[in-house]
């Protein structure tokens, strides 16, 4: 890989904001580098080029009885992107983030040199690159740990809750579940919060390994009209909350709809039309729960926000990444149709609450965080500077570093 002018190395471009963009720079796509270089079922590891997607990895791993150790809510991310953003998933409370499962990788710098990085070799580069937003170099290949599975199904349970207290009660009762997450309706609750808590484990009951299919539906780019607005979101939320008739429901689900419900519709983001949407994801430490409630009130009163808001608690497993996002606390994730200044001002207010609550916002989702906020959220930002490649950058980085 040669990047002699200012560049950004990209994969699937699935970060929501500008961390995968570089204005006036060269976008070097890594997608062609997708070979599986080594697979060791006894050691339970795999080594692959960083342009491979989790989609392709699953197609290879599932029939061979393995799953990814950590996966975000879409399987179309690349291995490089998963490392650069230190992605997390529904199992953070037991497994940490993706960076916790990376054993080593080869990093190429723009001066032509390359290094093998691991916890014991070039360890500073290892820690600067995990969650390092692609700023330290081009990851050529990476070796990571696999999770052995007997079944491609998940034993899943869905439980309705009508308050934050109820959420926490179910949550502390869910320690033996590998995967936990809650879908939240923050538009219709009278006060407080209601939603559906989802928890699951890899099935031991059904011993079949069935790989997922490719999506059938793809939204064409011609839909300029935003279909997602306050009214449709409210209606969707009411229908979604009420489709589960009982207060709790058990089912055996294939991994595809359990982990990747939105992947069924390619380009779902186009439902927001030309104005688009912004995503907000923050994390607030448990001791500042009051601030979290303030945040929920602010969002409900704004009347903005859409369906499929996500709530989860992070565990205490620390990532090796210096700029890693997940930390012990509660994380909230929402999409907001972009309504102009109304939305911008809501984001400023939400960021303000997160700053005062000693929380963090996630760069992979961000378009708005202020430079001072970034530096407060990620006090280790200065530590990665010696490892940053001079020819790599991103619009996100320039924004938070206040560079031109």
């Amino acid at each position: 890989m040669s990047f002699s002018e200012e560049s950004i190395i990209t994969g699937s471009h699935l970060s929501y904001g500008d961390s995968c963009l570089l204005n006036n720079g060269q976008d070097i796509s890594n997608l062609a580098n997708d070979c599986i270089l080594d697979f060791n079922p006894l050691e339970k590891t795999i080594t692959a080029q960083s342009g491979i997607t989790f989609d392709d990895l699953l197609k290879f791993l599932i029939p061979r009885g393995f799953f990814l150790p950590v996966t975000p809510g879409t399987k179309f991310v690349t291995l490089g992107g998963a490392i650069a953003n230190d992605v997390h998933g529904k199992n953070h409370h037991v497994a940490g983030s993706f960076g916790n499962h990376v054993l080593e990788f080869k990093l190429a710098k723009s001066d032509g040199t390359s290094l093998i990085c691991s916890a014991t070799e070039n360890a500073e580069y290892f820690r600067a690159t995990i969650g390092g937003l692609g700023l330290t170099g081009a990851i050529e290949w990476a070796k990571f740990k696999l999770l052995p599975i007997k079944s491609s199904s998940i034993d899943a349970e869905q439980i309705k809750f009508n308050s934050l207290d109820e959420f926490f009660a179910i949550n502390s009762d869910s320690k033996k579940y590998t995967y936990t997450v809650a879908w939240l309706d923050c538009l219709n609750g009278q006060s407080g919060v209601r939603g559906i808590y989802i928890r699951g484990n890899h099935s031991e009951k059904n011993n079949e390994l069935v790989t997922h299919n490719d999506p059938l539906i793809s939204i064409p780019e011609l839909t300029a009209m935003p279909l997602v607005n306050n009214l449709t979101s409210k209606i969707f939320n009411i229908l979604y909350y009420n489709k589960q008739v009982g207060s709790s429901l058990s089912a055996i689900q294939h991994y595809e709809p359990f982990f990747y419900p939105l992947d069924a519709i390619l380009n779902w983001n186009l439902f927001y039309g030309r104005p688009g949407f912004m995503q907000f994801q923050c994390m607030i430490p448990f001791e500042n729960l009051k601030s979290f409630e303030k945040l929920m009130d602010l969002i409900r009163n704004s009347g903005q926000g859409s369906f499929l808001s996500v709530l989860k608690t992070f565990g205490d497993i620390e990532s090796p990444g210096l700029l890693s996002f997940p930390e012990e606390g509660i994380t909230l994730c929402l999409d907001f149709p972009h309504l102009g200044e109304k939305t911008n001002s809501l984001f400023r207010a939400m960021e303000d609450i997160v700053v005062k609550a000693n929380g963090k916002m996630y760069p992979a989702k961000d378009q708005t965080m202020k430079p001072e906020s970034f530096k407060q959220f990620y006090p280790n930002w200065e530590k990665i500077l010696p490892y940053k490649d001079p020819n790599l950058s991103s619009s996100f980085w320039k924004r938070v570093m206040e560079e031109k």
């Binding site: 599986i36 270089l37 080594d38 080029q49 780019e221």
Partner: protein
């Protein structure tokens, strides 16, 4: 086991074709040794029964002669020629030496190899070559590329007629826009096909002994239209 020879394995289309033919005895040739080796590892990890990888410069005609003479006559079931570059039209117009080199990659080296490999292909085997829809009509925007591909298509047409006696099929593969490293600088639109789709179209066309494959299928009709636009209108168009 079918013996399949693939030239230009680092092409996205060739790589996907190999991935879809893991049950065959694969011989993969690529110009870049490291990348060719990486693909061999990928194929082996995915269950390929037999893969041999060779680094090869397709414009090194002496090496090509030596390599082909080492192959046993009538021993190969399928040959896929899938290497090439997207010629920079503007540069070719002002630099005929560049244009000459491009012709060598996209046309004459492929002609040379086809000539040598002819007797190494089994009866009822296939010689498949990736040309392009660009070869269907000379257009002002890309006629250096188009003529190299079109010239190759004409060569294949004659070779097909000759080899029909030996029951060897000559497949002329004409892709439209494909999302690969070759088109990385071209803005993508809905017409762009995935390399895996093109590769599976090629596999099907080989099985059904097709002569000319347009992939995806709708390019056959687009090019029919383009070929029949009257010249005085065509000259005014910016395609």
């Amino acid at each position: 086991m079918s013996k399949v020879l693939i030239l230009g394995i680092t092409s996205a289309i060739a790589k996907e074709f190999a991935r879809q033919n893991l049950d065959s005895e694969l011989i993969i040739l690529g110009r870049n040794e490291n990348r060719t080796n990486d693909i061999r590892k990928d194929l082996e990890n995915k269950g390929a029964k037999s893969v041999q990888s060779i680094a090869f410069d397709f414009c090194d005609f002496e090496s090509m002669k030596r390599y082909v003479s080492s192959i046993e006559d009538s021993s190969i079931d399928q040959v896929l020629i899938c290497f090439g570059t997207l010629t920079d039209q503007e540069r070719a117009e002002s630099d005929p030496d560049y244009a000459l080199k491009e012709y060598q990659i996209n046309f004459t080296s492929q002609m040379y190899f086809s000539n040598l490999i002819e007797q190494k292909i089994k009866e009822s085997g296939t010689l498949a070559v990736v040309t392009s829809v660009a070869g269907d009509r000379g257009r002002k925007s890309n006629y250096y590329y188009g003529s190299a591909k079109g010239g190759m298509s004409l060569f294949l047409e004659g070779l097909r007629a000759k080899l029909s006696a030996k029951n060897i099929n000559v497949l002329d593969i004409r892709p439209g826009f494909v999302d690969t490293p070759m088109t990385k600088d071209v803005p993508k639109n809905f017409l762009f096909a995935k390399p895996s789709k093109v590769a599976s179209d090629i596999s099907k066309a080989i099985i059904s002994n097709k002569a000319i494959l347009y992939t995806p299928f709708f390019w056959r009709w687009i090019m029919l239209l383009i070929r029949n636009i009257p010249r005085f209108i065509f000259h005014k168009m910016n395609i």
